[in-house]
């Protein structure tokens, strides 16, 4: 088995897509010569040249605005923001332009672009470089939202994002870039379909991105104590595959949503509400949410760890759900 990193899988997806589709271009801060803040586009300038890989000024509004315009006029741009935290500077371009153009022009024109960025904790990036802002994206109709947790998904979801005719926000996790795994070449699950990462009959853990791995670690410990959890990796938050979640909860009767973003009005709030709407008659316990604290992320490594769900807390919350 050949192993590859999450970062390399992303680069492979960009490379494969650019080789097959000449309309794909990349733009962002330091994406060219430097190869991207997290090294995803390293070396790509040599193959594709400056016409297709563009370094931009330090202006998120320019990056996203340029991508929107380019997408409307025939290209398929991949815009990279170094940190998702900086999306605030491009929110008008993203929320009021990219997401709405197809709807405001009677479907005549779309915005086939991918906005790549990364979020999450784990590198002591402090309050302005560690956030998980997926709830904002999910709250905006018109945006696809993908959050891959594995090497294979990093590749396949990005490949697929580059064939969609509407804007995709593609959020990577800064803690996953060096993660190694097998890149399975065969086609993964379809876009918008969640994947069951572990089968179990006692309770359902719904998660995505890095927290999937925390859940998997917790599951090993829980299994030793006789609790078998089922872990669902949502893969994309829009589309949101509630069918897979509800089917699982209808078997286990217990559900817990594990996310790194803030608890209040976060992704876990949405998903738990939907579980209660769609699978109420199957529930044995209230749906629990385990998400980030409602605080700006601290810089101290210990405080940073404590501000988002830990493996220990996943274990203790799952036990609570099992009344153990």
């Amino acid at each position: 088995m050949t192993e590859t990193t999450y970062r390399e899988a992303l680069r492979q997806a960009l490379t494969d897509s650019m080789r097959r589709d000449p309309s794909i271009v990349i733009l962002g801060e330091e994406v060219g010569k430097y190869g991207g803040a997290y090294g995803v586009t390293k070396g790509m300038l040599d193959e594709f040249g400056e016409a297709r890989i563009r370094d931009t000024p330090i202006s998120e509004e320019v990056i996203v605005g340029t991508a929107v315009g380019a997408a409307m006029t025939g290209l398929r741009p991949v815009a990279e923001l170094m940190y998702v935290d900086f999306v605030t500077l491009a929110m008008d371009q993203l929320v009021n332009q990219a997401a709405k153009i197809r709807y405001m022009f009677g479907g005549q024109i779309g915005v086939p672009m991918v906005l790549r960025s990364q979020g999450g904790t784990g590198r002591s990036g402090a309050a302005q470089h560690s956030q998980s802002l997926e709830a904002w994206m999910m709250h905006t109709p018109g945006l696809h939202l993908a959050m891959p947790s594995t090497v294979t998904d990093a590749y396949h979801l990005l490949m697929h994002a580059l064939t969609l005719n509407d804007p995709v926000v593609f959020l990577e996790h800064k803690g996953l870039y060096t993660m190694k795994g097998e890149l399975k070449p065969e086609r993964a699950l379809p876009w918008g379909k969640a994947e069951v990462r572990r089968k179990g009959g006692d309770c359902t853990l719904v998660s995505y991105s890095r927290m999937v791995h925390f859940c998997l670690d917790a599951a090993d410990t829980l299994s030793k104590e006789g609790i078998e959890v089922e872990i669902i990796d949502l893969r994309t938050l829009h589309p949101l595959d509630m069918d897979t979640v509800s089917e699982s909860v209808s078997r286990t009767g217990r559900a817990m949503v594990v996310t790194e973003d803030c608890l209040t009005a976060g992704v876990s709030a949405e998903i738990s509400a939907r579980i209660m709407e769609e699978a109420f008659d199957f529930l044995e316990e209230p749906v629990l949410r385990l998400s980030g604290e409602d605080i700006p992320i601290p810089v101290s490594p210990e405080l940073e760890k404590g501000s988002v769900p830990s493996i220990d807390r996943i274990i203790s919350t799952a036990k609570m759900l099992m009344r153990r």
Binding site: R20, H160, W191, G253, D281, E284
Partner: protein, 465 residues
């Protein structure tokens, strides 16, 4: 007719008294059921009190502005029935759901005996729609337990809850459903697959100079595969072996491709179009003794298969077209040109990437043989001549859509949604009898990228003979 006294109704849980704001009826006035009798102000709101039956005001006992306690008289009335002594004791602004039992705080635990007594008293005082004896006792049970109990016709009252505070869980209900009934859903029937005898693989060439690969047991109508432009019979490597388990499968090298090649094809006279190639194949099938076949063609091979089926419908049992030529004008002419002229490995690889959704398919096994063939300039020239026959300026030269519309045999059109050579939206507008199969995340080579799915479709297509 009988006379009775209206008393002040209870209009809310915290209400102890109310102020009469205005009477809508005066003494001696008759009213109908539903008419508003008076407006009351309580500590929470102003409400209108309707009549519950027809009647007549005899005397107003509480004038406007009077503060009256619950249950005290407010008027004397004349009604027909002998019941409903305090007929105005209704709750106009609160629905039946707002009975005291359901207004308990969600966090309350099992009600203490004293609370229950209070509730009963309140019910009597208020004279609400439900008599206290009819108030269902809310059993503590999870939603799952309620669903299972209701499905199996069990009453929750008969089940003992083992959960927190005596809550009945789904498992509690399951336990009380008759034990010993085994779960019939978990047994899977065993399938004994009989491995069919596979004939020897033969690579032969015949008088027409068409090479082919034949595999599988004879008996059923054979399957014949026709590859696309610039490819050879190896492009069906993921399909032939599996499908040859149950029937004879023929995979051909089209003229000018693979081993169906000789130097004369490099002459300017070799200029076959789709229809001419179709006639070549029809002739070959006749010589090979194949009276009737299921035809599967990819891209240019799809155009050939369609043309053949249209010219000789009696000889084609069914037709499977993968990303075929001939269903629309659009084609990626740049790809055709760069693919047919690519001499060196780099250009060839760059062109091959357009064929697949996943770049990993462009590997040494694919590139090597193609690169080898291209070392012969004559072969490249023949390829360019064939390409010239397929294109008219920047569009497809041959059109077979009208032919397809007239065919009577079963037809499936199979396409990759992300085909960058011939756009998959050319399937739109085909007759409803044609089966359309679009694979997501798939390029121009669905039989490679989606081999399992395509094989299944081909099996479906030819299952009938």
């Amino acid at each position: 007719m009988m006379e009775k006294t209206l008393t002040l109704p209870r209009l809310g849980e915290t209400m102890e008294e109310g102020t009469v704001l205005a009477w809508s009826k005066i003494s001696g006035e008759e009213y109908d059921r539903g008419d508003i009798l008076l407006e009351l102000e309580t500590d929470k709101m102003v409400v209108e009190v309707p009549a519950l039956e027809d009647g007549k005001i005899l005397e107003i006992l509480a004038d406007e502005g009077a503060v009256v306690a619950i249950g005290e008289p407010i008027a004397r009335v004349e009604v027909e029935s002998s019941e409903a002594v305090a007929e105005a004791d209704s709750v106009p602004e609160t629905s039946p759901q707002s009975t005291p039992t359901s207004q308990k705080q969600p966090s309350t635990t099992t009600p203490s005996p004293s609370q229950e007594v209070d509730e009963e008293e309140e019910l009597d005082l208020g004279g609400l729609f439900i008599k206290s004896s009819e108030v269902p006792e809310r059993v503590r049970a999870t939603p799952a337990a309620r669903r299972i109990a209701s499905k199996s016709g069990l009453s929750l009252n008969e089940i003992k809850g083992t959960g927190p505070l005596g809550r009945i869980s789904g498992d509690d209900v399951r336990r009380s459903i008759s034990r010993g009934v085994s779960d019939p859903t978990e047994t899977k029937p065993e399938i004994n697959e009989i491995e069919p005898t596979i004939n020897e693989t033969v690579l032969e060439s015949d008088a027409l100079n068409i090479s082919y690969l034949r595999k599988g047991p004879s008996g059923k109508t054979p399957l014949v595969f026709l590859h696309g432009f610039g490819a050879d019979l190896n492009s069906w490597r993921f399909n032939v072996s599996l499908l040859a388990k149950t029937r004879e499968v023929w995979s051909l090298d089209l003229p000018g491709h693979g081993a169906s090649w000789d130097d004369s094809m490099a002459s300017p006279g070799f200029n076959p179009g789709v229809e001419e190639l179709a006639e070549n194949i029809a002739q070959f099938l006749m010589l090979a003794g194949i009276d009737r076949a299921h035809l599967i063609g990819h891209s240019m091979g799809g155009g050939i298969a369609l043309s053949l089926a249209s010219a000789h419908p009696e000889r084609v049992a069914s037709l499977g077209l993968l990303a075929p030529l001939g269903l629309g004008p659009e084609i990626n002419h740049e790809f055709i040109r760069s693919f047919s002229t690519a001499r060196d490995r780099e250009k060839l690889v760059s062109a091959l990437h357009r064929l697949f959704y996943h770049g990993s398919w462009v590997n040494a096994a694919l590139v090597g043989p193609l690169e080898e063939q291209r070392k012969d300039p004559k072969r490249l020239q023949a390829l360019s001549q064939i390409a010239g026959g397929l294109l008219q300026e920047n569009h497809q030269r041959w059109q077979g859509r009208k032919m397809l519309e007239k065919l009577n045999m079963p037809v499936k059109v199979i396409w990759g949604r992300d085909d960058l050579v011939i756009p998959s939206d050319q399937v739109l507008g085909l007759p409803g009898t044609v089966g359309l199969h679009l694979f997501p995340e798939t390029g121009h080579m669905p039989h490679v990228e989606q081999a399992m799915g395509v094989n299944r479709l081909i099996e479906e297509l030819c299952a009938f003979e």
